[in-house]
Symmetry: D3
Subunit: 149 residues, 6 copies
C-alpha cells in the first residue's frame, strides 16, 4: 500500500479549534494612566472577550502504513484536554493558573500554548513528530504565530 | 439620472460591524446548581467572551437623486456611537447600564440593539426608512435574528 | 430579571453544523445517457462528496426566565442524534434508509431534514417553538432553503 | 422515485458568482462639492473597484422527476451570459450601456440585475419558477438585497 | 516599465481551486476491526466526501516585462487539466488510477498533487519558476501542506 | 510580570486591512493585440477593480514589559497613513504616483507595499522589529506574497 510513501515525505498537518474567552490587558505594576496609554480600551476593568481561533501545525514524516502523519482522533483528544478544558469559556486573567503572572496578550497566549503542546507531544512515542507552529487569530484582523524560536 | 429608480424600489441594505465583549450567563435569583444546569460553562464566575458580529438591515425606497437607501457614512457614525461605544471591549454584565437587570444572552442582546437602533432611527428625517432586522452571530455557529415582532 | 422580555419577543435562532457525505445523482428509471444529460458529472458511478453545511433556524418567543429561545445544549444533542449520526461520513445513496427511494439532490436533502426535525420538535414540550427554516450549503456557491411550504 | 416530493415542496435555491468591476459614484448634475459631500472618496475621478459577490435566489416547486428546482448547469450558463459577460472586468460607469444614465450604487446595481434576470427567466418554459431575491455584497461589510418590491 | 522590478524580486503566487470528491480510508491488508480502530467512521464501506480546497503556490522571480510571475490564464488551464479533470466529482478510491494502490488520506493526496504538478511544471520553459507548496483543506478544520521535502 | 517572556521569544504578528481600488493591466509599449494576449480582459480600457485584502506580518522578540511585539494602535495608524490613504478608493494606474511607471499587477503591488513599509519601519526606534511578509489577496482565489527576497 501507499507506494507514494516509499520515499519519506515530510508534511505539515494543521488543525483549527476555537475557544471563547475573556481577557484584560493590565499591568498591576503600572498606574491606571500608563495602562490606558499602553492598552487603551483593552485595559477596561472587567475585561472583554474573543472567539479565539487556534491553529496548530505538526510536522513530520507520513506513516507508510496508515497514510497519516498523526492520528487526528488522538490529536483531537489532546487539544480537548490541553486547550479547550483550560481556556474555553474562561476569563484568562482569573481562571488560568499558568497566566497568573502574565499579561494575557495574544503573543503571550500563543507562547503558552506552544509550551503546553510541545511538552505534551514529548509524551507521545513518535520521535519524528514535532510541533511546527501555533497561530492564534484573536479577531479576523489580528493574529500571532509562534514557532518555538 | 437613475432611470431605473423612476418607479419606487424597496431595497434592504445591510451593514456588518464587530464588537469584542465579555459576558456571563447567570441568574442571581437561582442557585449555583440551577445556573449550571441552565447555562453550563457559560455561567463561569468571571465570564468569557466573543467577537460578536452584528448585522443590521434597513429597508425602504431608494432615493432617486442619490441612488442610496441611506447615507452609509451616516449609518457608520450612528453604529459607532450607539453600538461600538456601548458594547465594544466591555463586559456586558458590568459595563452596560441597559443590561443591568438582564441575563445577556444573544437573544436579549439582539432585542436591546433593535430597541436602541429603532429609537435612534426615529430621529432621522426619513419616514420611509425602517429598521428591518438585527442579527448577531455570537460564534461562527450560533446566531440570533430579531425583527421587532 | 430580563425587563426587556416583559413584552413577548419573537426571535429566530440559527445553528450551523457540518457533515461530510458522498452522493450520486442518478435515476435508475432513466438510461445512462439521460442521467448524464440531467446530472452531468454528478452521475459518476461511485459518487463524489461534499462538506455539507447545514443551518437550521428555530422561531418563537424568548423565555422570560432564561433569556433563551431554546436550550442550545439540548438543540446540540438533537442535531447530533438526528443529523450527524444519520448523515455524517455516510454515502447518502447507500447508507441512509430514508433516501433509498430518492435522488439525493440538495433540494431533497433539505426537505428530508425539515421533515425529520419538525417531527422531532413535536416531542418537545414547547408549543410556541417552531422550525422556521432549513438551509443546506452544498458548496460555497450553491445552497437550498426549505421552510415547510 | 423521490417519494418525498409526492406533495409539492417549495424551495429557495441560491447561487453565488463574483465579478470584479470598477465604479465611480458621481452625479454630473451636481457640483464637485456636492458630489464629495454625498459620495466622499467614492466620487474620486477615475473610480475605484470591488470584488462584487452576487447571490441570486430562485423559488418554486421541486421537480418530482429530477429532484431539482432548476438545472444548475442552465442557471450557470444564464449567469455567465447575463452577468459575467456584462459586468466582469468592466468599469460600470463606462462599459455598461444599461447604467449610462445611472449612478452605479450597489442599490442600483441590484435593481438592474433583478430586472435583467427576471426578464430572462420569462423565456424559460417553467411557469412556477420565480426570481426571489438578488443580493450584492459590495464588500464583506456592505450588502444590498432586492426582491422586486 | 516596471521600475520596481529592476532588481530581481522573488514572489510567491498562490491560486485556490475546489474539487468535490468522495473517499474511503480503508487498508485491505488489515481486518475490519483494525480499519475501524485506525480510521473510525472514515472507513465506512461506501465512503463519504468533501469539498476539497486546494491551494498551490509557485515561487520565482517576477518577469520585468509583464509584471507577472506566471500567466494566471495558463496556470488556470493547467489546474483544470491536471486537477479538476482528475479529481472533481470522482470517488478517489475507485476513479483515480494514481491512487489505486494508496489509502487516500489528505496527506497522500497532497503528495500526489505535488508530484503531478512538479512534473507538469518541468514542461514549461521557465527555469526559475518552481512549485513551492501544495495545501489541501479537507474541511474548514483540517489541512495538510507538502513542500516536496 | 510575564514570566513566559524571561527567555526571548520570536513571534510573527499579522494584521489585515482591506482597500478597494481599480486597476488596468496594460503595457503602453505593446500593441493592443499584445496587451490582450498578455492580460486578456484585465486590459479593458477603463479598468476594473477589487477589494484588495492586505496582510502584513511583522517579526521580532516580544517585549517583556508589555507582552506585545509592537503596539497595534501604532501599527494601525501607520497602515492608515501609508496604505489606506494611498490606495483606498483609488485607481492604481492614475492616482498612485509610485505606480506611474509600472503595470499594477498584484505582484508589483505587493513589492511596492513592502518597499513602503520597510522604509517606514526604519523610522521606528526598535532595531529588532522587522517586516517579515506582505500578502495581497486580489480575489478569494489569487494571492501574492513578498518577503523582501
Amino acid at each position: 500500500m501507499n507506494d507514494l510513501l516509499r520515499k519519506p515525505r515530510k508534511v505539515y498537518v494543521s488543525r483549527k479549534i476555537e475557544f471563547n474567552a475573556a481577557h484584560r490587558l493590565f499591568n498591576p505594576l503600572c498606574t491606571e494612566e500608563q495602562n490606558i496609554a499602553l492598552y487603551g480600551k483593552c485595559s477596561n476593568s472587567y475585561g472583554h472577550g474573543h472567539n479565539y481561533l487556534l491553529e496548530i501545525t505538526l510536522c513530520g514524516i507520513v506513516d507508510m502504513q496508515t497514510g497519516f502523519l498523526f492520528d487526528l482522533k488522538e490529536l483531537k483528544s489532546i487539544l480537548e484536554y490541553e486547550i479547550t478544558a483550560r481556556f474555553d469559556h474562561k476569563h484568562l486573567n482569573h481562571d488560568v493558573p499558568e497566566l497568573q503572572n502574565c499579561i494575557p496578550t495574544t503573543e503571550v497566549l500563543a507562547i503558552l500554548i506552544w509550551d503546553i503542546l510541545e511538552e505534551r507531544l514529548l509524551t507521545i512515542n513518535n520521535q519524528e513528530l514535532v510541533l511546527h507552529e501555533v497561530t492564534i487569530h484573536e479577531t479576523g484582523k489580528n493574529s500571532v504565530r509562534y514557532r518555538g524560536e
